[in-house]
């Protein structure tokens, strides 16, 4: 049904929807993040939850300390190689449907510390990331816009067929392999199934 007709009917007091829309509306408006902050971006995330840029207005009512009760993990800050297995373990402990926002340059790609000996060049090497927010650190409004992007992404997920969410897909990967801290580096250096490398640019 087109938008115009819906709005007209809405003015008359008739509310039309599909199950898919209702389902996704419920899911996207109550995404509860996990209390997970690593470095400076965590301060910006905290600022986003405070009075001025209120994240609770978007449904992220409570930041749950336990991964079992959380829907969203906002990776804010540099992921060191020492911490990376723990991040993947926490992600594995989250129940589906779960989403990941990589906030800030360090979480996306290692950022300004990319050449560090202990810096993981982006958490998307081991877990699937839904939204990336560039910035160092990104403004609280940028995190809110990313949250809205995530909500739009949830809204557009069909319930059947190709792009359905993982919790409705029996063959989807539920547990992601935790990297082992080897003698010289994390083994493996990346999860080939999760990190779809493009054709090499340079």
């Amino acid at each position: 049904m087109e938008e115009g007709l819906k709005i007209e009917l809405g003015k008359q007091g008739v509310f039309v929807t599909t199950i898919e829309e209702l389902y996704n509306w419920g899911r996207k408006n109550s995404v509860w993040p996990m209390q997970f902050g690593l470095a400076c971006c965590a301060i910006e995330m905290i600022a986003t939850t405070m009075a001025r840029y209120d994240l609770a207005r978007f449904g992220a009512e409570v930041f749950r300390p336990s991964p079992r009760q959380a829907d969203l993990m906002i990776i804010s800050g540099t992921v060191t190689k020492k911490m990376a297995p723990q991040v993947v373990r926490l992600y594995n402990q989250m129940a589906e449907p779960r989403y990941v926002i990589a906030m800030g340059a360090c979480a996306i790609s290692g950022g300004p510390f990319k050449q560090g000996y202990n810096v993981l060049k982006g958490i998307d090497r081991y877990i699937p990331v839904d939204v990336h927010i560039p910035g160092c650190p990104p403004r609280p409004e940028a995190l809110l816009q990313a949250f809205m992007t995530l909500q739009k992404k949830i809204e557009e997920q069909p319930l059947t067929g190709e792009g359905r969410p993982r919790h409705l897909d029996a063959e989807a990967q539920g547990e992601f392999p935790v990297p082992v801290q080897g003698e010289h580096d994390l083994e493996p250096t990346s999860n080939k199934l999760v990190w779809p490398l493009p054709v090499v640019i340079r």
Binding site: A105, S109, K114, D130, H132, P134, C136, A142
Partner: protein, 222 residues
Amino acid sequence: MLGEGILKGLAETARNAVGSFVSKDRLTTVEYPEERLPLPEASRNFPFLVYDGTDWEKGLRCVACQICEKECPPKCIYIDKSKDKKPDAFGRPQIYPAKFDIDISVCMSCQICVEVCPFEAIKMDTQYELSTDDRFGGLLLDRKELAKSNEYYHQIHPTEASEVDAKLAAEKVKADAKAKAAAGAAAAKAAAAAAAPKPAEAAAKPVVLADAPAAKPQGEGD
């Protein structure tokens, strides 16, 4: 009194909590995206390339000197120089960047590239709504996405842009004056060179005339 500090803090919190329902200035929430906090003029997020005029390719100020590439601390800029040249704002043929990529997944907004650019070609943008789910394509900005007009620069940083325009205009005036002086000197030199052979020819003639009578008696004597 014991606990006075805590009570003062609690009183402040209560004043804020109750007051936010009553008065507008106790409610500090800025309801994004409907309301936005006005950013200060010097705020910065990621760089962009300035172009003068309407055609972004022709008016791009960048001459691919690669100074920003070398000075960038996390090395997130990649520049490929062009093989040919195109005329710049002063009319002189300059090389331009064939490729200018900035990886904003690494950029830390330090503004060093802006500080070192000698041509005022790269400036800081204030756009922060760049979140994407496309890790590889969406976070590597190329030349076309980076090029924004001088009018846009005036919109986001008016004072800075006017200063830069004044500086560039002054430089253009100096360059024009220099070119004029150089042209004048070249013209004067050409005129001097044209006048010089004439006195040389006049000096050569009397020599020939002096020789001729001396040669004649020899010829006659033969």
